[in-house]
Amino acid sequence: MTAQAEQPAGAAAGGQRRRLPAPSLREAGIIALFALIVFTLPWWLTAIGGYEALATKIAIWAIFALGFDILLGFTGYLSFGHAAFFGVAAYTTGLMFKHVSGDVVLALLVSIVVIAVLAAVLGVLTLRRAGIYFAILTLAFAQMFHAAALSIFQEWTGGDNGLTMSTKPALFGLPMQGLNVFYVVAVLLVIGFVAARQIKRSSLGLMLRAIKENSMRLQYTGVNVWRYKMIAYMISAMYAGVAGSLMVVYEPYVATKFLHWSTSGEVVIMSVIGGVNTLIGPMIGAGFMLYFENVVQAFIGEKWKLILGLIFVLIVVFLPGGFVDGFNRIRRALGIRTKPRRPNVPDAPETMSRYHDSKNTPAQTGSDN
């Protein structure tokens, strides 16, 4: 039976691929569409009441949220301390601009190295625990950095006044002003998106999803779970670090707020309202949050935070899969067949019906031999 057993499986897999365009072609289409939406952001955002600089900010936070999804969405680890990476990278970049040069490439590279070291150290300390303990540990460490920036490192960080600099950052001689900044950020966002998608479908990505699903089974399958967690943590820290550095490129100023827990909290909220484990969702969440904070606020005034909080609660209660889940539900309601996919919400009913309606019912497989 051994040689023949492989046949049906191989045939089924081949059949599935034939129905869709070739994977590389489909992937290229998705990336092209994504790049198009990102690069035209300044124009269509202006059309709906935003402004150019907001597009840059949204793209920066989208990078942050994208990396955060690799840790929270894939691996299932909720960090409440990613402000540490965002903030420390921002300070590193700021200090590079202020004391060394306005070279963006150099500042980014130095920041990435600093964040890699920092993430390795914090990872060793925090990844010993999971769940709520991990969240609390990351929060505690991030708040220590915030406190340090306001006390022992005050001379370097400028304390409450923030870090100011007179340098004009430049990339290969190109001054970082206006839309130039946006294009640099947009290119990095697209690269970050491509990388995250590749990780998701890779064997590394499968290991990360396995950690979220059942880390005990994974360990007792002979896998060093801790090392994979560390990799996920470090990758997401790098994204946060790049985002933090870009904030300083965008506006040569570092506020202590970058290290504050509310920065960590914002990226969590963005991820949840957008849709965890979808990559695209957290980025939509970032866009929504910043749009709300900067545009809608102008219309409804100070109570915007109250409204935002209400939206957050409603989404968590009624749409736990976030905007992406909502979008899929609308498509299903309109009768558009969505690509069958496993839900990111554990109790979503679609998979059950999908398989019990199809010919592959468990009952049928019970009659082998």
Binding site: P23, S203, M207, E213, N214, T221, G222, V223, N224
Partner: protein, 275 residues
């Protein structure tokens, strides 16, 4: 298989003397393992030898220490005393994933699977762990259906009878099928020793018989197995040797027919949780 069982030395005091002669054939050697929880002796002075290629059953009433013993083997628990030698090398004190990498796989009492992942992905994880060892940085390697590890997963799923549900999320399987999935995960790791903790618990007679068939089929590959079981039908259909645990000690050890008639075994089952 049958001839191997027949040539086995008798259990009891003679076992110690016979052990030296068996060394090369012994895959797993447990010596004087004890484990206590807060003063309660869960295992005391367990000695157990498992021959290469054999199916070895461990039976006993609830609370006899069967699962504790398996946990001590794979590093889920660390024995207070004693040694565990697998394939000629000591295991005690090693991290679980390293023990597993030596060539042990376990089917747990409650099926341990990756619920939201597809069946094929579930098994591919084990195939990857077999190929790459405990860790590999492979973000560049896309896992498409034609990937060798995905094909291996499909093959192993076919073996356990789940070959036509490759894309299904594991959480949607029935309990019996979840256990078969876990079996496929273990098979994809190509272990030298497979530990099965009540592989037929909660299964219908039909499913139980299918599981027995499957285990016998796997045996043809020469894989050694330790089966913990309550179901005597399973034990006597499969095992070449049976070890009976009661209150943390071995009260009988031998061929199934020897153990079946042992008065101490009957007493343990009647006095404790009756079958």
């Amino acid at each position: 298989m049958a001839s191997q069982a027949a040539t086995r030395t008798e259990p009891g005091p003679a076992a110690a003397a016979g052990r030296a002669a068996e060394m090369g054939e012994t895959l797993l050697d447990v010596q004087g393992v004890s484990k206590s929880f807060a003063g309660l002796k869960a295992l005391s002075d367990i000695n157990l030898q498992v021959k290469r290629g054999s199916i070895h059953a461990i039976i006993g009433p609830n609370g006899a220490g069967k699962s504790t013993l398996l946990n001590c083997l794979i590093g889920l628990l660390r024995p207070d005393e004693g040694s565990v030698t697998f394939d000629g090398r000591p295991l005690v004190g090693m991290q679980p994933h390293k023990i597993i990498q030596r060539g042990i796989a376990r089917v747990f009492q409650t099926p341990q699977i990756f619920p939201a992942l597809s069946l094929q992905e579930n098994v591919a994880i084990a195939a990857l762990a077999k190929r790459d060892g405990q860790f590999a940085l492979t973000p560049h390697e896309s896992l498409r259906p034609g990937h060798p590890m995905m094909k291996e997963a499909a093959y192993q799923l076919e073996r356990v009878g789940l070959g036509d549900m490759l894309d299904m999320a594991a959480q949607n399987l029935s309990r019996g099928d979840k256990r078969r999935l876990e079996m496929a995960i273990c098979l994809a790791a190509h272990p030298k020793l497979l530990l099965l903790d009540e592989p037929t618990a909660g299964m219908s007679r039909h499913d139980t018989n299918r599981t027995i068939d499957l285990l016998q089929k796997i045996s043809e590959t020469g894989m050694t197995k330790i089966v913990i079981e309550h179901d005597m039908h399973v034990v006597f259909s499969l095992a070449e040797r049976v070890t009976v645990l009661h209150q943390g000690t071995i009260i009988a050890d031998g061929k199934p027919e020897q153990v079946r008639g042992d008065p101490k075994v009957e007493e343990a089952y009647l006095g404790g949780a009756h079958e």
